[in-house]
């Protein structure tokens, strides 16, 4: 009895230790990659802080943004930096969590961050925006789309804001005669989702689109959608608008196919990542339309160059919109720094912020997500593009999804 107890205790202890060791070693490799990027002389280097979910439910976005930023920084440093100043990225994980994002922000301040590219997702971004405004730290969010992300004058963004996505979606559906009866399923506990939903319904009325069903779910009950799907089915909708993230969208597509629902699907940038999430059920995503400013297989020179470089740098991974947002954010910072004539890397974060927030409204960035200009309230001006997911069958019978411009 004594012996077996000891064996149990030992094996449990072993179970606990092994993953911790694994955790340690993976952290070690992370720090090495970071320090490699910062091998330049520290006197002429500016640390750019990055915050986003590198693990967790929204990890697809965080990793894409991080990769996009790193790619742009490597390109700029290889070409001699910005006015001779080298850039260095320190990217922290927030797991799409407000508290962790604020902690990450404080960590970055201790690590001598001069400006922040982040955060990636809306709720954490709003939390960090309050801190960065207090410190007068320049903040450029690649993809925080809630209105309040850039409420303060030190904050700008690359992506569209939520109302803008809702309005543009309604306009696109109406003007291209995609459907006339529309149903919506949205997350009433998420600011991104409700923001798009509200603007979508008001714009739909103006565009003579009939919203026949609007069903909600919350973060506490986001696995069972059978009721919402059935309501959509009964409403006679031709199109289901999904202003939500891809995990729930994947579950909705899977459950809708089982319930025999046949409608068109339309979503916003949150659906980026849907193809991977569906796994073997990828065929369900066929024909899903989404409004996003970037498509990896667009044929213009800038997109082709970016996609090629990204694939070469990251294991042949196809960049999603968030990677493009991160990439454009760095080039926006570069353009603003050049416009403001920043040549001294030892400038304080607050002085840098004052210079950059004026310069941001004066520049035009020809980015991979479009030609962007900024208003003083931090909002970008650029055109959205509509994409469709197409499914191709491989030789071995498996299916692959990709985005095609509409």
């Amino acid at each position: 009895m004594k012996f077996s107890k000891k064996v149990l205790a030992f094996s449990l202890a072993a179970c606990m230790t092994v993953p911790f060791l694994a955790g340690c070693s993976s952290k070690d490799t992370e720090t090495t990659t970071n320090s490699e990027g910062g091998s330049a002389d520290s006197s002429s280097t500016i640390v750019i802080g990055g915050i986003g979910p590198v693990t967790g439910g929204a990890a697809v976005y965080g990793n894409a943004v991080k990769n996009g930023i790193q790619l742009a920084i490597d390109e700029i440093n290889a070409a001699g930096g910005v006015n001779g100043i080298k850039l260095e990225l320190n990217f922290q994980d927030d797991e799409h969590n407000e508290e962790k994002a604020v902690n990450a922000y404080n960590t970055l301040k201790d690590k001598d961050m001069k400006l922040l590219i982040g955060t990636v997702t809306s709720n954490p971004c709003i939390a960090v925006a309050a801190e960065s405004a207090k410190d007068n730290m320049f903040q450029l969010t690649p993809s925080g789309s809630a209105v309040d992300c850039v409420a303060n004058d030190n904050a700008f963004r690359i992506c569209f804001n939520d109302p803008n996505q809702g309005v543009a979606s309604a306009q696109y559906i109406a003007q291209n005669n995609v459907a006339s009866k529309v149903a919506v399923i949205y997350d009433s506990s998420d600011v991104y989702s409700t923001g798009i939903y509200e603007k979508f319904t008001s714009e739909a009325a103006a565009q003579n689109l009939e919203v026949v069903a609007a069903e909600a779910f919350t973060s506490d009950s986001k696995t069972d959608f059978s009721v919402q799907i059935q309501k959509v089915q009964e409403s006679g909708a031709e199109l289901l608008f999904l202003p939500i993230y891809y995990q729930e969208a994947a579950l909705i597509l899977q459950q809708a196919s089982k319930a025999g629902l046949s409608v068109k699907y339309f979503g916003c940038d949150g659906l980026d990542g849907l193809i991977d999430q569906l796994g073997e059920d990828v065929a369900l995503a066929e024909g899903v339309m989404l409004l996003t400013p970037f498509a990896a297989d667009a044929k213009d020179d800038k997109t082709v160059a970016f996609t090629t470089a990204y694939k070469a740098a990251y294991n042949n991974e196809v960049p999603i919109q968030f990677a493009a947002d991160g990439y454009d954010a760095v080039y926006a910072v570069k353009a603003a720094m050049e416009k403001a004539g920043i040549t001294d890397a030892s400038i304080s974060a607050s002085d840098l912020c004052d210079a950059l927030k004026v310069a941001m409204t004066e520049i035009t960035v020809e980015g991979v997500t479009g030609n962007i200009t900024w208003t003083a309230d931090g909002e970008p001006t650029k055109d959205p593009k509509a994409m469709e997911i197409v499914i191709t069958e491989n030789e071995d019978g498996t299916k692959t999804g990709s985005y095609a411009a509409l």
């Binding site: 149990l8 179970c15 990890a59 919350t218 506490d220 009950s221 069972d224 995990q247 089982k258």
Partner: protein, 293 residues
């Protein structure tokens, strides 16, 4: 009418999964007088085990599910031996905190091994088409959840009332001391209870992850809480109570989503719980316990 039937069937399916999980809560509470808050996370471990087994090419679905159930059973017994048994005489609060600790331990180990991104789970009945009955389309997952839960509940009722081990469980739950005096091995009976409860969690994990085909380290937490509510709703400690409580909870959740508000469904579920507890504090099937003086 057709749509009402469909809401009802989906509600019963969801509810029968809650009921399976609630059985684990209620059996453990009945015997060990403790709330095993790690129960939800045992479901998650079961889900990941099945997920990992199925992703290896040689492992057929039925074997993966069996492995999942086996791992859950062993884990449940190990957790009981290592974490709860030394605290058998400790105050209830200490045991409760330990259970919450075990829950976090399991969650965080899963986070370290599998990462926190949700992964797509392949349904155990993936290639079987949905059935259409008089205009109502019912997915195979729904049918299998209801059928398997019913079979398990019938077997469990027979086991508890007809077998020696089952009767020993009843005796221990009524009076541990007296049961021991009557020659019942209390420790073995408690272990058996944990084993059965965790095996049910293993079955629930296969059904849960097939109906909602995603898995993450947090998969078990919300169903775990809902099932705990179902157990309290039905009368904690009562086995038929957990079954009825679970199914009612699923049905109320779905019908309130359908006919009242999809945003407020959780609020309504908990409101019903509060009302039931005010009217009948021991839950629907709970027995009134007279405090001994």
């Amino acid at each position: 009418m057709m749509s009402f039937i469909s809401y009802l069937v989906n509600g019963i399916s969801l509810g029968s999964i809650y009921a399976l999980i609630a059985l684990g809560y209620t059996m453990v509470y009945g015997i060990a007088k403790m709330l095993n808050f790690a129960h939800g996370d045992i479901i998650m471990v079961g889900g990941f085990t099945i997920f990992t087994a199925m992703s290896t090419a040689w492992c057929p679905v039925w074997l993966s599910v069996l492995i999942g159930i086996a791992v859950c059973t062993v884990l449940g017994v190990v957790v009981e031996k290592v974490a709860y048994k030394p605290l058998r005489t400790a105050p209830p609060l200490a045991v409760l905190i330990t259970a919450i600790g075990v829950s976090y331990l399991l969650q965080n180990v899963a986070l370290l091994i599998f990462g926190s991104a949700s992964q797509s789970f392949t349904s155990i009945v993936k290639n079987i088409a949905p059935v259409t009955l008089g205009g109502v389309t019912i997915s195979m997952e729904t049918i299998i959840s209801i059928v398997i839960s019913l079979i398990i509940m019938v077997c469990l009722t027979i086991f508890i009332n007809k077998t020696k081990a089952g009767k020993a469980m009843l005796a221990v739950s009524e009076d541990k001391g007296a049961a021991q005096l009557m020659g019942i091995n209390v420790n073995a009976t408690i272990s058996l209870t944990f084993a059965i409860g965790s095996a049910l969690a293993g079955v629930a994990s296969a059904l849960l992850c097939s109906s909602y085909p995603q898995i993450s380290p947090y998969t078990g937490s919300m169903p775990g809480i809902k099932a705990f509510v179902a157990a309290v709703f039905g009368g904690i400690g009562s086995i038929p109570g957990a079954m009825i409580g679970g199914i009612l909870l699923g049905v109320i959740e779905n019908l309130s989503k359908a006919y009242i508000s999809s945003q407020l469904s959780d609020a309504i579920v908990f409101l019903v719980l509060i009302v039931v507890l005010i009217v009948k504090p021991t839950g629907i099937m709970g027995k009134k316990i007279n405090e001994k003086v």
